[in-house]
Amino acid sequence: MKRGLYSAPAVVAVSLSLLAGSAASAEDSFYATAAAPYKGTTIRVLDEITPLQETLSKIVPEFEKETGIKVEWELLNHFEVINKGQADMLSGRGYYDAVMLHGFQVGPMLSAGAIKPIDDMVKDSKLNNPKLDTADFIPGPYKSLAFANGKQLGFINWNYNQVYWARADLLNNQEEQAAFKAKYGYDLAPAKTIEQMRDIAEFFTRKKGEKLAGKPLESDFYGIVLEGIKGGSTFGTLWRDFIKNYGGDIMDAEGHPTFDRPENIEALKMWAALWKFAPPGIAEYSLVDVPTVMGKGIAAQTLAWSDFVLGVDKPGVSPYAGQFVYAPIPVKAGVTTPRSAEAEPSITIITAGSKHPEATFLFLEWLVDKKQQEKLIELGQGGVPVRETSWAVPAIKSSSNPTLYAAMKSTLDVGTAKPRMPKFYEIYDQLSGIAQEVGLGKLSPEEGAKKGQAEMLKLCDKCLL
């Protein structure tokens, strides 16, 4: 018998697709309905330019089409988005309705009263999408970032995170593996501990003319590259990838500075030791330079921001694309305190001076909606999830680079926003200067710890908001 169109499985399939379709249109219509009073409004949003936002910019016009709210979507580089965004927020002019803030900016901006909490809008049934499913946001970054003093500041937009990044072709080279085992007594593999990372750094640091993976080097090769510029995220790396994994911290639970504790000194010693195996220009390297150095193939390993990896580890960008391996941030062997990994969850907030907070709120909801997040990851053929369910999106689950996503997940499992410190910038400026001076050998780790403690105490006795 010829199987007809109306056979039972076909009916079920069609019915299911109709149901799914109607559910989707119901969800879609929430934003269209909620935005009706704001149709024709123009909102200005400032965000950072990374491969993630470039992909997102392709989706934003769909919001305009769906709601009739026009979005002027401005993307600036890391440093500009901080300066320009903060300048506008602090002026109170409200040129921008929404500004992307890195986690570390939230403390100073909160203490300046430059952020508009969204609690009223979350409670407003006309504005709050009941299907937003905030419980699906990766909890550590979301909870530590989006709430302060009992108020909600926004959702979570970007889950920037650091991962361990190494040259798989070198780590898998049999000749190198044998030499490494002969020297250190254990197998060459992506570092799980900070000590292993040091050994790998030492092992692969070679001069021009020496052999690397059987071939003579045309220029010097370095065992590690780290961010070393004053400012940027240099101190974040030292603090949350090293100091905290050594069991130390820069302050106690009440916010009293503790920079001179013994664990911190040990971490600073390791930090200084690693700089000896890094390129001479390390003190000038920013978070942009580190992936560039890795992409050019002049260093064996690093700790870097995973969103930059997405822009480097792809054919046509780096000659070593596909030859990298990623792993969780290495920890200190034998330390029992919870492991730590540097992450910088970032949030798009509504500015206190915004003239269109409701329309902006709808846009922020729409951005973090499951549908948009999935589309963002599919369009970018990968990405950095802010939702747990995004790990199951095919572009991530079937990625050709599974170690990268496993490393990202590992970081985001423990990653949090930075503690809220009104004097974050002053503290960070001092401590990143010390990180640089210790790395360069201008200060001993003990002197660096002592100086850091003194500088912190000058700025604040209780440093938390």
């Binding site: 903060q86 602090l90 300046a112 220009g281 390390i282 000038e284 400026d429 360069l440 201008k442």
Partner: protein, 308 residues
Amino acid sequence: MTNVGEAVPLSVSAAQPSARERIWYPYLLIAPSMLTLTVVSLIPFLYTVYLSVHAAKFGRVTDFVGADNYITLLTDARFWNSVGTAVIFVAIAVPIEFMLGLVGALILNQNVRGRSILIPLLFMPTMMAPIVVGLLWKIMLAGSWGLISYNVLERFHLIGQTSIFASSDLALYALIFVDIWQWTPFMMLAFFAGLQALPLGPYRAAAVDGANSVQVFFNITLPMLMPLLVVIGLLRFIDAFKVFDTVYILTGGGPGIATETPSILANKMTFEFWNIGEASALAVLVWIAFFAFCNVFYQIAKKRLNAF
């Protein structure tokens, strides 16, 4: 009808301004420029003074704090470090630029062949935007791959395993070198223009008297050129003390605070720490220092060097 040669009584109001008009007329003429100066210069300066005596953090001006911002700044080692850095910068860069500029101008003044091509070429560094100068030298001196650092300094083991701009010992001197590279041609061409404008009479008289070139330089050229030398030197001094752009691009004040000048510190205080009260106090202090210095310099130049 009036005959030719007959005195014609002119209307007083048309020909000669009244006493009252004589007083106001010059003020009327300079009023537009004074008004512009007041708006673009004096008001912001007065507002800076106002901010410097108030608590102004994160763009919000709150309590009057008197001299607190000044005291905080004057007791801050970082402020004095920035002043010290600027003093070293100026003390090395400006005299070298001055001397090289003067020597170069004297050579150019000797009718050297190809001068019309040489002068525009010499002026190129000065014409470049500071960001271009910064990027150019960043590429030349970048650690491990820079054109000069790799091909010269590393190849001949002149600096060892370090990057110049990342070295606390070398970064400031590298910045001074860049400043000399950029501004010596300006000094040279300004002095050359001055030399070209000197009257020939005294030189002819000196030649008749049998004066040698050293005597001519010290007794004729230098005294006649002195007003220009003083003005250009002073302008360069002020400009070098305020150096910001190349430092910002090349080192950002680092490593640590090794190259942090008052301008870099003020920028950091304003746009990173948003501590506008203290940053304003810093600006006022630098202004007072310049005001005092320029006055002393002016008196010396006037009385001892007959420059004005």
